[in-house]
């Protein structure tokens, strides 16, 4: 008997979904993570936003996720499985999921897809990402103020535009405070490898860096800075607990406002394919908590954040000179998004050769 009741219920729900045309009573929001959901960085920030979505919408939303999905054919299968399991909106949270997302999206025109960090869109595929470089600029200013040696060490993952953008923005911020500031770079060629990241931090410190910045995900570098009595910036999540004395500020990914907005759009039936690239103004990128720095440095950082939020300060505003001395961005112009998304040159003063 119970079986029949369930079946009748299911039919009723299905009929309800059809009659409501666009607006939905309930949304199933699904997520694909490249790492474990509790990796302490990138994937965890996405998962926390997922939990925030659940909390915000209560009964109106159901969520599911697949974690540790390798990029490639496995990604396509994982996304397709979610699409088949009745997800209405699927967030794929790694650059490498771009082509798989598009392939699955073509097969499931009614499901909405949201791909993070890519550049290909479709009728039912939106893209979204964060302007981390805004936070990097502020980090550069703080570093230039706090450094005694005038040298920062920067641990980076892969030479893709997003990473190069971060390095350049950091240097531009630092140069705005100290034109002679130096940045040394180590390519770790990984997003997450605590051993390698720790070694990179040690090597940079031995070369005279007294501030460590990272574009990799583990808190290893923070711990090394703490051991050596130096300073460091955290990445993706708040890393202050790994370096109570060393931690200056973490560049935090806050996906919650975007995920809530997009799920709401599906509920309202107003979802459209969009290209979202937001930074500090929309509270996507947070630089928190500002600590272990004198009040004047903190005040300067807060002031810069305000200027970035109001649009008064544009990070990539000309004149900007390339490493080789040629003009990167001419005076009076601000680099457009297309230029930034294909950025493959260093600004002047960076002590490294960009791997090509």
């Amino acid at each position: 008997m119970r079986k029949y009741l369930v079946a009748i219920g299911a039919i009723a729900i299905a009929a309800g979904a059809v009659s409501a045309a666009n607006a939905a009573d309930k949304v199933k929001a699904c997520f694909v993570y490249t790492g474990p959901h509790n990796d302490g960085g990138w994937s965890q920030q996405h998962d926390e936003a997922r939990l925030a979505v659940e909390k915000h919408f209560g009964d109106k939303v159901e969520t599911a996720y697949v974690e540790n999905v390798p990029e490639g054919p496995d990604a396509e299968r994982a996304i397709e499985r979610l699409a088949r399991s009745g997800c209405n909106i699927i967030f794929t949270t790694s650059f490498g999921f771009m082509d798989p997302t598009l392939k699955v999206a073509a097969k499931f025109p009614k499901v909405k897809f949201e791909h993070d960090a890519g550049y290909k869109m479709a009728e039912n595929v939106s893209i979204y990402n964060m302007r981390w470089y805004e936070g990097r600029y502020v980090q550069g200013q703080i570093a230039a103020k706090m450094s005694k040696t005038g040298v920062a060490g920067y641990i980076v993952s892969f030479p893709i535009p997003e990473v190069v953008m971060g390095i350049d923005a950091f240097m531009l911020g630092a140069q705005s405070v100290n034109p002679d500031f130096k940045v040394k770079i180590v390519w770790a060629n990984t997003w997450f490898d605590p051993g390698k990241e720790a070694d990179a931090a040690k090597a940079l410190i031995d070369q005279g860096a007294d501030i460590i910045v990272q574009h990799t995900d583990s808190p290893a570098a923070m711990q090394i800075a703490e051991e050596r009595g130096l300073h460091a910036f955290g990445q993706s999540a708040d890393m202050s607990k790994f370096g109570p004395k060393a931690h200056l500020a973490s560049l935090i990914d806050n996906w919650t406002p975007y995920y809530i907005e997009r799920v709401q759009a599906v509920l309202d039936g107003t979802w459209k394919s969009t290209d979202t690239w937001e930074g500090m103004k929309a509270d996507f990128v947070l630089l928190q908590p500002l600590q272990n720095m004198p009040d004047d440095v903190k005040a300067m950082a807060e002031d810069t954040i305000k200027k970035i939020e109001s649009g008064e300060l544009q990070v990539f505003k000309g004149p900007i000179t390339k490493q080789d001395g040629t003009i990167g961005i001419p005076a009076g112009t601000v680099a457009d998004d297309k230029t930034l998304l294909g950025l493959n040159w260093y600004v002047k003063g960076i002590d490294d050769k960009l791997p090509q």
Partner: protein, 361 residues
């Protein structure tokens, strides 16, 4: 009363076949207990894991797609392992095949059609063979331990692939992102069934049958086994150990290379910085679970693919961690190895300590 392991006078044929079955059964029982302890309905979990992926056509297709590279590689490895050549570097040979096979579609994007695809496959096989020939020569010429050389060459191949996809072969229109250009349909294996089953499934069927024929019906298969079990006996029989080392390496390298190019010219559709999530290593489990027998490998490969599929389903349906799948695969290998001890040993229950009559007084 105590239990002892006693060496059998002769190895047990029954246990050779029974061991994997027993291992699977024990894994399922352990799984059941783990689920029950963590307050997940074990019946539902086992259903999601092992039955549900078989209930829909699309998921059977996915399962086959996942099993194809694993089975291809495992078939090749079975030749090595039968002749006691411990090639554990199929992952690297796969990358070499993927690279060699991608030369045409990346450098000559306008060349397309069946001939080009055939050439890609041949080059993939040759690439894998050439890469496997390195440890083979090292072993024959310098007696270098192939377990070490093959494993180390995996890292060399993967880093070289990474360099190529990131550097010279990077898609100029790809915003600096590290991929080659996407292949056109005329540079990929044709789809032969359903939505996504490509011609590579035919390669698997041919490989399984050819391997079965070669090992059980030809003198070559006999030589491989003799040299594997007793190199000295093989030498007396006039079989060349060195030739056999080279041959098994070329077979396994060629099949791993084929698996690599089939992935690139199929499900992936472009050359990436990594082309395999560890198929070369999973295939080692499959080869042993399948008793180094082609049909056994076919079944074992499908079972491992099933556990991957079920693992994803369990994440979505039950919110189980992805680690659960790895626990299952680990348990399976552990139980196979444990059960394998019973091929050569048997349990004996000794009821009473043997009493020496001389001491009894």
């Amino acid at each position: 009363m105590r239990i002892i392991l006693e060496r059998r006078p002769d190895h047990s044929q029954t246990m050779v076949l029974l061991s994997p079955v027993l291992a699977i059964a024990l894994s399922l029982v352990s799984f059941f207990i783990i689920f029950a302890v963590s307050k997940i309905d074990p019946f539902q979990a086992l259903y999601v894991y092992f039955i549900e992926p078989l209930t829909a056509l699309w998921s059977i297709e996915d399962l086959l797609a996942k099993a194809i590279p694993i089975i291809l590689i495992a078939i090749g490895l079975s030749f090595c392992y039968q002749s006691a050549v411990w090639n554990i570097g199929a992952e690297g040979q796969l990358a070499a095949g993927a690279l060699a096979g991608s030369i045409i579609p990346v450098l000559q994007p306008t060349w397309q059609g069946p001939l080009v695809v055939t050439a890609m496959m041949v080059m993939g096989v040759l690439g894998g063979m050439a890469y496997a020939a390195i440890p083979a020569v090292l072993k024959i010429r310098f007696n270098a331990n192939e377990t070490l050389t093959t494993l180390m060459l995996v890292y060399v191949a993967n880093l070289f692939l990474d360099y190529v996809a990131r550097g010279p072969w990077r898609d100029p229109g790809g915003y600096n992102f590290p991929n080659s250009r996407a292949f056109d349909e005329g540079q990929m294996l044709p789809i032969v069934a359903g939505d996504s089953i490509r011609l590579s499934i035919v390669f698997v069927i041919i490989a399984v049958i050819a391997a079965w024929f070669l090992t059980s019906k030809t003198i070559t298969g006999f030589k491989i086994r003799v040299l594997g079990m007793s190199p000295r006996a093989g030498a007396f029989g006039g079989f060349s150990r060195n030739k056999m080392v080279m041959m098994t390496f070329l077979i396994s390298g060629g099949l791993a290379g084929l698996a690599g190019i089939c992935e690139v010219a199929g499900p992936i559709g472009q050359l990436r910085t990594t082309v395999s999530p560890g198929y070369g290593f999973t295939a080692i489990i499959v080869a042993f679970l399948g008793r180094l027998h082609p049909f056994g490998i076919l079944i074992a490969g499908l079972l491992l693919a099933l556990s991957y599929m079920g693992g994803e389903g369990a994440q979505v349906a039950l919110g189980l961690s992805d680690q659960t799948t790895q626990v299952f695969q680990g348990m399976l290998l552990f139980y196979v190895l444990a059960c394998d001890s019973f091929i050569y040993y048997r349990l004996k229950i000794v009821r009473q300590r043997a009493v020496d009559p001389a001491l009894a007084r």
